[in-house]
Amino acid sequence: MTVERVLPGLDSVIHAQARLRVMVALSVLPPGDQVTFPRLQDLVGMTPGNLSTHLHKLEDASYITITKAYQGRTPVTYVTLTRAGRQAFEDYTAALGELLSAANHESVEEKL
């Protein structure tokens, strides 16, 4: 069982640094665009094993799709953000923003 202590209101699938990085990278691509595994690896700076693990967690949540295609005889793995994934990431950043503004609010009140 996971021992992650997630901030209230934050999507626990996304709120792990490695997966967050992947979600950010995919969200920067225009909607519908796919990226190959090696390029994604470059963009987020992770080892193949590590990236693969996190991709599968994101795929289980239906936030990304992983497709295997062939270029000639070479298999190429493409990763793309699903519509649900893009929405989840937007919700996540929105929730984060709310947490942050609430925290700022509290600290201002403390000072008063």
């Binding site: 021992v3 967050l20 920067v28 225009p30 963009l43």
Partner: protein, 223 residues
């Protein structure tokens, strides 16, 4: 993630729950910048390469045609200089696109590929039209005007299209400028058409490159 961080995570990527909302937001912004920079096709590089090619290539054409310099530039040399510079600018444009788009597929890349093909097709059209007119006995003194005029027309229209595709006012504005340059080059007559191509055309591209670079600096600073 049983008890503690997984062993593979690099330094700083340990237990996510230790990140505060502010730190998480900073992480998002940092990662976003890295990815955006890696995917960013540098317009200043491409515009600068074309600006240089036009400025020097058109300039060589003018000097060769006019014999303005005492030494004079032979026609063949002007041709070689322009050819090499235009080939180099083409390589820079396609190379930059390919490098930034490496490993990316999908709608945005398809648009970029179709746009790239449009350049090839447009210039195939320009060549077919101009060669046919020459064969049909277009007076020799009009031939250079036809080439600079139609080339600039094609380039101007493609920049208008690029401006529409990517919502870039800079590209659209450059397209308008190049269209005006094309008309101006024909109005100037031979060999002034080469001077217009060099100074107004090449100069326009270089100004656009400088504007693009200044914008990049500005947004880097704001980030």
């Amino acid at each position: 993630m049983e008890n503690g961080p997984p062993p593979e995570l690099p330094v700083g990527l340990t237990d996510p729950s230790h990140l505060s909302p502010a730190e998480t937001l900073a992480l998002i912004e940092a990662q976003r910048r890295v990815v955006a920079r890696s995917l960013y096709v540098d317009p200043a590089l491409i515009l600068g390469a074309w600006g240089l090619a036009w400025l020097v290539g058109g300039g060589a054409g003018y000097l060769a045609a006019d014999g303005w310099l005492a030494a004079g530039v032979p026609i063949w040399l002007a041709g070689v200089i322009s050819g090499v510079l235009f080939a180099a600018a083409t390589l820079v444009s396609f190379g930059e696109q390919a490098r930034r788009g490496r490993g990316v597929a999908g709608p945005s890349r398809r648009v970029a590929a179709v746009y790239g093909w449009s350049w090839l097709l447009a210039f195939a059209g320009v060549f077919a039209l101009n060669l046919a007119l020459e064969q049909r006995g277009l007076p020799t003194h009009l031939v250079p005007l036809l080439w600079t005029g139609t080339s600039l027309l094609a380039v101007g229209l493609l920049y208008l299209a690029g401006g529409m595709l990517w919502g870039s006012r800079l590209q659209y504005g450059l397209g308008l400028w190049v269209l005006a340059t094309g008309a101006g080059s024909v109005a100037a007559g031979f060999p002034g058409n080469f001077a217009v191509l060099s100074l107004a055309g090449g100069g326009g591209f270089l100004v656009a490159a400088a504007v693009a670079r200044a914008r990049d600096w500005h947004s880097e600073r704001a980030a």
